[in-house]
Assembly symmetry: C2
Homo-oligomer: 252 residues x 2
């Protein structure tokens, strides 16, 4: 499994991903799911991937091959809009899936992958797009400023509460880490290291990139502070009318 | 969709459920998913149901019919252990599903249902069991004191953080409401009224039962206090090392 998310707010975008892959429960490995492309100085793309690992790797290889081919009809250097990059990757994803479809179907294995691509092309607004396994894609919006792929549910409630279009990039990055850490806690097939990238709009360069191990100081501090904060929030909840005495020593 | 959960702690058990059912997104109705059985004075059962509504209703009808039949080989009055009640309901569930299996398969509709049954039979410990759509069942344990059916993911993180075997019943009930409310916020097919039942062990009677509407005072108060508590917990998270100034007026 996998959990990747991207957040697009007024001032830029956040990308975050875990690094665990598994084929069944008895073959668990670590692969980065965050891929940065800066094919020319006027553009920056961050690609997040979830789903069948062979599919995502072949999609990445084809993106690289297209960038190196002078005669490529379309690649990440030639697209004029972010949505064209989404369309291009969706098309490659479908081609890769179709080439193994029959063999995978015989083994009852899904070759599906989904992607998030975001960033900016000079002169265009920054943004993020989610590419479905079927190759079509959607963009985030000011009302729904985040997109998720993989194991999305455990980490969604905090995003719904915190992320707005005017959230600062640093707050959005913190929220992304909380969302990832909550998911890791509930699903063992999502795991560290966590990758986090912060993009300030119109800079065409990542302002921060980090890969955080399980015992990373910042991650540990966020995890412990959040756990304590939730427990304190729980203790402050109103009592039922039959509860007379408030025992300050009680759990959690 | 549906979200039901039960929590079994040292001092008793909590049962909680939403009341929304839907057939597609354009046919949404309200049905109670919590069913209390007190067939004799020496036993109390609470049954929670999720899945195909026709299946769960027929299972409930058959339970009632068996209770009214003097010649029933097994019913909720004759079982000697809680696990026998789980086995009995699993068997009925399978029978009901099998009787419509072919017709449902032709329409590509799932007739599956899952259940949670809990309570106590005099002389036995209290407990909770989850019955899978296949009719087999598992019990909660001191290490895993809760069981969920339906839309389980959004409401799981808070249970994992708060619920221990020695959690008080009132805290467990509060946590169940938070878990349900978080799920309602993220999935529109889970909705009020919420039903909550509290069972103190060895009493063979519910100490509290309530049905809470969306605008119920206690539920509103829990929802608002929890939302504020989470936002405060978020504000207290550690800053990245590049964040120099802490702006106290910032979001959320």
């Amino acid at each position: 499994m996998t959990y990747c998310l991207a957040i697009s707010v007024e001032n830029g975008a956040i990308f975050a991903s875990d690094s665990r892959t598994n084929a069944g429960v008895d073959y668990v490995t670590t692969y980065s799911k965050m891929h940065v492309f800066e094919p020319t100085e006027d553009r920056l793309f961050v690609l997040l991937s979830a789903g069948n690992l062979a599919t995502t790797q072949e999609v990445l290889n084809r993106i690289e091959v297209d960038l190196n081919r002078a005669d490529a009809s379309v690649n990440l250097r030639t697209v004029n809009y972010l949505f064209e990059a989404a369309e291009y990757i969706g098309r490659i994803s479908i081609q890769v899936q179709e080439s193994y479809m029959n063999a995978l179907a015989r083994s009852n294995i899904s070759g599906e992958s989904s992607f998030i691509i975001g960033g900016q092309i000079q002169g265009q607004p920054h943004g993020i797009y989610m590419i479905y396994p079927q190759g079509n894609y959607i963009s985030a919006s000011p009302e729904t400023p985040y997109l998720q792929i993989g194991e999305t549910k455990y980490g969604k409630p905090i995003l719904d509460r915190v992320i707005k279009n005017d959230t600062t990039l640093d707050d959005a990055a913190r929220c992304a880490l909380v969302s990832l850490d909550s998911t890791i806690r509930s699903n063992v097939t999502v795991g560290p290291p966590l990758e986090l990238a912060i993009y300030h709009k119109d800079t065409l360069d990542l302002s921060h990139y980090m890969s955080l191990n399980q015992d990373d100081e910042m991650l540990t501090s966020i995890r412990e502070t959040w756990d304590l904060g939730l427990k304190n929030a729980f203790l402050k909840l109103p009592r039922f009318d039959w509860e007379q005495v408030i025992d300050k020593d009680r759990m959690p």
